[in-house]
Structures are given as C-alpha cells and as structure tokens.
Amino acid sequence: MKFVLVISDRDNVATALQTLEPGRQLELGSTAVAVREAVPSGHKIALRAIHTGEPVIKYGCPIGLATAEIPAGAHVHTHNLASTRGRGDLGPAAPAAEPRLAEPVDERNGR
C-alpha cells in the first residue's frame, strides 16, 4: 500500500494513507520528502515549505491559509492551517463572486 496520495499536481500537501513515522523518506515522482514528525493516517503532510499566509492546496484548490511557517515534511492540520470561510469571528465575508455567464433569461417567474 502507498504511504501517501497526492491528488492534484498543484497540491502542496499529500494525504497519508498510513501513519508516517519521522525520518521516513517519501519518493514522489521527481521529488523526495523527508517526514519530519509523525503524521496520522488520513492527515496531511507538506510536500514543500509553505509560508505563513500562503494557501494550502489540496484537490488542486485552496483549503485555507497557513497560520505558521510549515516546513516540507511537516504535519499540516488545525495547528498550522485555518479556514477563510464562514468566519464570523474575522469580520465581513468575501463579496459574492460574479456569475460566470452573461445576463440571465430566467424561465421561472418570481425567482
């Protein structure tokens, strides 16, 4: 069984498919990552250094911002990654995205 799974080429984290012990060397294509600390099965490990405030990318999409300096091979979880969504504690939410297509011809009444 594989040790980790990288879902998208754009990702800067991988998912551990079994518990990773510190010191283990992970070969991922052309790059190698040394596990820095224990990472439980199902949790994320940094594939490269991620700086404070930088997005953490999984599924090819941002899943939040790093709240601390994350070295390659570190465990990425609630201690160093935080959501940017639904955060009433942070003040105004981001403005709604514009619709992608041109103005609608809405077929329904009153909607």
Partner: protein, 402 residues
C-alpha cells in the same frame, strides 16, 4: 415489497432500468407505503402506533413541529409534510390530526388526493381520544394496505430516478473513495437522463466555484452563490465561526482540517460533468433533469428529509466514520471507503469501496457496483437502514418556537 431482480436487466432499448410503482401523476415510486402523517407533535405517537399496526405497508412521519411556529417555519413544515404526502414512494395517506394545531390536516389529505392517492383523516379530539383515534386509524390504514398489496412493480427507465446525494461522518476516505465513486454514478445517471440532488450548503462552501461553472443558466450560478453567501453572512451576523461545527470534531480527528477541504471532498458526489440545472428551496419539488442543489443544512437527517421531500426516491449516503440513519419512505444506501468502518459497522454498511484506498479496485469498478446497487434497491432490495428500522425524519427549522 421484497422484489430483488437482477439490476443489470435492461429495457428493450438496452438502457438500464428498475422495477418501480407507476403513480397516477406519472411519477415512479421505489416503495409503496401507507404514510401515516401526524399534523403536529401532539399526534405523533398515535400516528406511530397506527403505522406499527400495519407492518406490511405502514410508515409514520413523527415530528416535533406543527404548532407554535412562526411564518417561515410554519410554511416549511406544511410544505415538507405536503411533499411527503405527494411523494411517489407513498401509495396512500392517513393524516392524524389533534384538532387545534396550525397545520391543516385537510391540506395534507388534499395534496395526496391531487396526486391520485387515497387519503383520509382521523382527528384525536373529535374521535374522543387516543384509543378511539388509534382504532379508527388502524382500520383505515389496514384498508389502504389491502389496496396497495394489489399494486405491481413495472419496468421503468433509469431516467425516472431522482437520486439524493448525501455524505455524513466524513473522513479522509470520503473525498478520495466513496464520494468520487458516487460522483461517477451521478455523471452516469445524468448522462442517461436522470436526476440527482445535492444538499448541505455549508459543505459546498469552498467548492462552489466548481459547481457554479457547470450551471446551465447564469441565474442558477447566481442563486448558488447567493445561498452560500447567506450561510456565511448568518455566521458573520452572529459573530460566530462555523469552525466549531464545520468540520465536526470527528471530521477533524479523521484528518479534515477546514470546511474548504471537507467541501471539495463532499462536492465530488455531484460528479465531474453533470450540468447544474437548478437551485431549489428546502423540500421544494425537483423539476429539472440533471443536477439540482437544494438549500438544506448540513445536519444529516434534516438534509435527507428535505431532499426526499423534493422527490428523491433513493438516497446514497457515503460515510467515512459510519452512521446509521435512514428515512421513513426512501431507501438510504450506505457506502464507505474506510475498511475499518466497513468491518466495525458492517450492520450499517451496504457497500464497501475501501478497495479504492489500497488500489485493489478502480473508481470505475466501484461505480459499476454502486450503480447496480442503486437500481436493485430502487427495485425493492432492502438497505441496511431499512432492515434495522432506521426511519429518522426531521424538518429543518430556523426560528424559535413561540
């Protein structure tokens, strides 16, 4: 209703099919219940006893609402109960009223009749109490069950299916195995002209751009963004951080850190290409083929209650950590990608797709199995939740009880 035909049966046209109950309104049922609907919490026990006395077909809809509710909540209660009375998995309706409540028993019975079903009402106050109302209700429900026993399933095209997509108790396997498996089934079903519905607005947050880009009308993309913004705005107005509940403590133990991460995994249920055709309110009718998003909360039972109300005849519920819940009138198929959960909660799991995690099964092979399971269950095969008597039902409410 124990038919269990081969799911690979095809129509003469070579298309996948299932055996369902064709209703007078043209819709197709996958089950054939006598629905015993209490108008209000006060008549819920009588309704449950009546349904239990007619085990062949009885299904009760006990709930906590029906009185003391303000405008919008009252409307949602009425609409949800009405939607269940109209639902194609229901062949006949008995409304159990108290007599002084807000929900109007006649409206529910009329809704059933408009959809061509036999319907009747017993009211506890006018019948003279629990015992008399229960006795009369059992007589009426037994008569309905006798009529329904004569109904036969017939072969129906797969495009008649409305599939509810649900995940709960998610862990890292959900986004990697069970949800992508379900997503492939969604894409296939929609390619064949069928319908799928995705709820749980908070669990689209962070992945809405993926769904909005598949909207067939700009107004649909706008509506999706608007309801997600509403959920975020509500959290902001309360000064609250949804991280207390999204992801849940169990999700976090399972390795999910943020709502964006959970949403990106959860949204896989909606497939990769199925066009987003509509956005509808809680328990509102799903009228367009293709993918619909329904405005439901993330709470499992409220979410499934709403999507079944919208017309889903089968629910596929993926889980990582394992969860037992079902629905009173729709079969709920439990799928897990977590091998430990598949072993430990074997009673509750219908399909184990954990082979995807160790590369012993491909996503496509797992999707083949799930698609066959959906057709077999639609044709009458019982799910774990049905065998275990899981019939959870909860109407979403947003405001205080007065």
């Amino acid at each position: 209703m124990a038919a269990d035909p081969s799911a690979v049966d095809l129509l003469s046209s070579g298309r996948p099919s299932f055996l369902g109950y064709r209703r007078p309104d043209g819709r197709i049922g996958t089950r054939n219940y006598v629905l015993v609907v209490p108008t209000v919490i006060c008549s819920s026990v009588v309704a449950e006893r009546i349904a239990a006395a007619v085990p062949s077909h009885g299904a009760a809809l006990p709930h906590l609402a029906g009185c003391g509710q303000l405008g919008p909540d009252m409307r949602v209660t009425h609409e949800t109960l009405g939607a269940y009375c109209a639902h194609p998995n229901v062949g006949a309706v008995l409304v159990v009223a108290l007599g002084c409540e807000q929900v109007v028993a006649q409206m529910l019975a009329e809704m059933a009749k408009r959809h061509g079903k036999p319907a009747d009402i017993v009211a506890i106050q006018s019948e003279g109490g629990t015992i008399k109302a229960t006795e009369k209700g059992i007589r009426i429900a037994s008569g309905f069950a006798e009529r329904l026993a004569a109904d036969a399933r017939e072969r129906c095209d797969v495009s008649e299916l409305v599939l509810s997509l649900k995940c709960g108790g998610s862990d890292y396997t959900s986004g990697l195995a069970s949800n992508p498996t379900l997503g492939r089934v969604t894409d296939r079903l929609v390619d064949l002209g069928g319908t799928a519905v995705l709820g749980e607005i908070a669990e689209i947050m962070g992945a809405e751009h993926l769904l909005a880009s598949r909207a067939t009308r700009p107004s649909t993309a706008t509506e999706l963004i608007q309801i997600i913004t509403r959920v975020e705005t509500e959290a902001r107005a309360l000064g609250l951080d949804i991280r207390g509940t999204q992801p849940s403590p169990g999700n976090i133990r399972g390795g999910l850190t943020t709502i964006e991460e959970k949403s990106l995994g959860a949204t896989h249920k909606g497939g990769e290409r199925a066009p987003l055709e509509d956005v509808v309110g809680y328990a509102a009718p799903i009228t367009r083929k293709g993918l619909t998003v329904m405005d439901t909360p993330g709470l499992d039972v409220e979410s499934v209650t709403g999507m079944v109300g919208g017309g889903a005849q089968v629910v596929v519920f993926t889980t990582g950590l394992g969860t037992p819940t079902g629905n009173p009138i729709a079969p709920v198929i439990k799928v897990t990608g977590n091998a430990r959960t598949a072993r430990q909660m074997a009673d509750n799991i219908d399909l184990d797709v954990s082979g995807i995690m160790d590369d012993s099964e491909t996503l496509d092979a797992a999707a083949d199995r799930l698609f066959e399971e959906v057709l077999a269950v639609a044709s009458g095969r019982q799910t774990s939740a049905e065998r275990l008597g899981h019939r959870e039902f909860a109407i979403h409410r947003r405001n205080p009880t007065i």
